[in-house]
């Protein structure tokens, strides 16, 4: 059973998604938060596998919530809930520790499939996000510390194909791997993006002597 919590300020949307999840036999949602502050307080004390997070919330944003919660609950998966796919905010969420995203406009089936895929260790990625990640890893001017994980050749290859707009199916065919493997690679890339983000923060600290 996949245990899910939702952080979404628009109640109608939150309850719709909850109903959608609870109509399934393999997942359950019994925690809804309408702002980031409540979620930051209560999520660490509850038994949850996945938290679905809206980005735009009344005070603190969904990205702030993830930044705080990721450290406190390392085993929880965070999934952004967003209107558009090619969004700077999605990229920042991924750097903060999000493991994937679901489009608000997607069909019910698509939303449920995405939740299951995430639980199984797969993540989605759009061409523009792929492009942003390539830049993040190749244009690094800071010297990586031991914490920084470089991308493998295979991961870089995969990102380049994604940046061209190729679908998972095509990438799988090109690299002779299954679509499932493609998704798992992306999941790992997201984790590295987060580590890189932390390393960058540490490096900045070392250079300036103080945190900015």
């Amino acid at each position: 059973m996949i245990k899910i919590s939702i952080i979404e300020d628009i109640k109608d949307v939150a309850f719709s998604v909850q109903a959608m999840i609870n109509s399934q036999s393999d997942m359950i949602c019994d925690h809804i938060f309408h702002n980031a502050e409540e979620a930051m307080m209560f999520v660490p004390h509850q038994d949850t596998d996945i938290v679905i997070v809206d980005i735009g919330l009344p005070r603190a944003s969904g990205i702030d919530a993830i930044t705080t919660l990721k450290g406190k609950c390392p085993n929880v998966l965070f999934c952004m809930f967003t209107v558009y796919e090619d969004d700077e905010k999605i990229f920042r969420s991924l750097q903060a520790g999000a493991n994937g995203y679901i489009l608000k406009g997607a069909s019910k089936d698509k939303i449920l499939t995405s939740i299951r895929e995430l639980a199984e260790g797969g993540s989605p990625m759009s061409p523009t996000i792929a492009r942003r990640i390539i830049e993040t890893f190749t244009e690094k001017k800071v010297q990586p510390t031991n914490n920084a994980l470089p991308l493998t050749t295979r991961e870089m290859e995969l990102l380049q194909l994604l940046a061209k707009g190729m679908l998972y199916k095509e990438i799988g065919e090109t690299l002779s791997i299954t679509t499932g493997t493609v998704k798992q690679h992306i999941h790992k890339i997201y984790e590295k993006l987060q580590v890189t983000n932390k390393t960058e923060a540490i490096n900045k600290l070392n250079v300036n002597g103080v945190a900015n």
Binding site: S16, V17, G105, K108, S126, P127, K164
Partner: protein
Amino acid sequence: MREEELIVVTAFTASLLLSALLIWFFISYQKRKNEYVNSQKDAQLREQELIIQNQLNLENERNRIASEMHDDLGSGLTVIKYLSDNIVSNTFDNTIKEDVNKIATYSTVLVKNMSEIIWAMNSRFDNVQGLISYLRRFSVEFLDDNNVSNTFKENDLNYDINISGEKRRNLFLVVKELLHNSVKYSKAKEINISITGQPDLEIVIIEKQSVGFDPLIMKEKGNGLFNIEKRMANIEGKISYKREDNDMIIKIFLHLEPEIKTNFKSE
């Protein structure tokens, strides 16, 4: 002192003074010339800075509008979709279901259209790569969803060539309209798309085993082909249709300046 000596000394002093005067004159002339050149350069620099600042302001403004549209309208339309879905799942009246489903569909289509406008407005995608990856993602997904087998090939593309938002949006909408028409009317079982660009862009769409259509008749029937021609004219591009055996071959041509733009940078 003798008179001759006095004359020599005077002449010597006079010529010394004269040359000193000449040198001073020359130096101050040079100095003024330099000052003038420098001030000209400064003025030019200021002017260029102003132009760059204006472009930056324009870009920021475009991005601000995009992000506001993004946040407010996008999430508002999504709420309409979820509320509609709620009504559909709570009613047994089929007429209501049908109508409310239409509301949900329209709001989803509007979100998609808006995300296209935002993509066109975002200057980060003002290059060939920005266009091609968007085109590819759309075409393959759309044709897959409609069970049309397809290929999408790139030949000899220079990814960094600059292409404006207006051109990108028009080209994208032309291809979108063409593929919608293909799926609706041509009954083609396979559609192959190939793109060349060094730097002029040529997009070739081949509809295999197509029933085909006469563009002239179609123009009277619907807005689709009329819009395509209009969009191509707007960006000074060309489009041609040709039948070859059972296939329909559509060629789109757009001249691009070999100007590099690599501003696909993180903020």
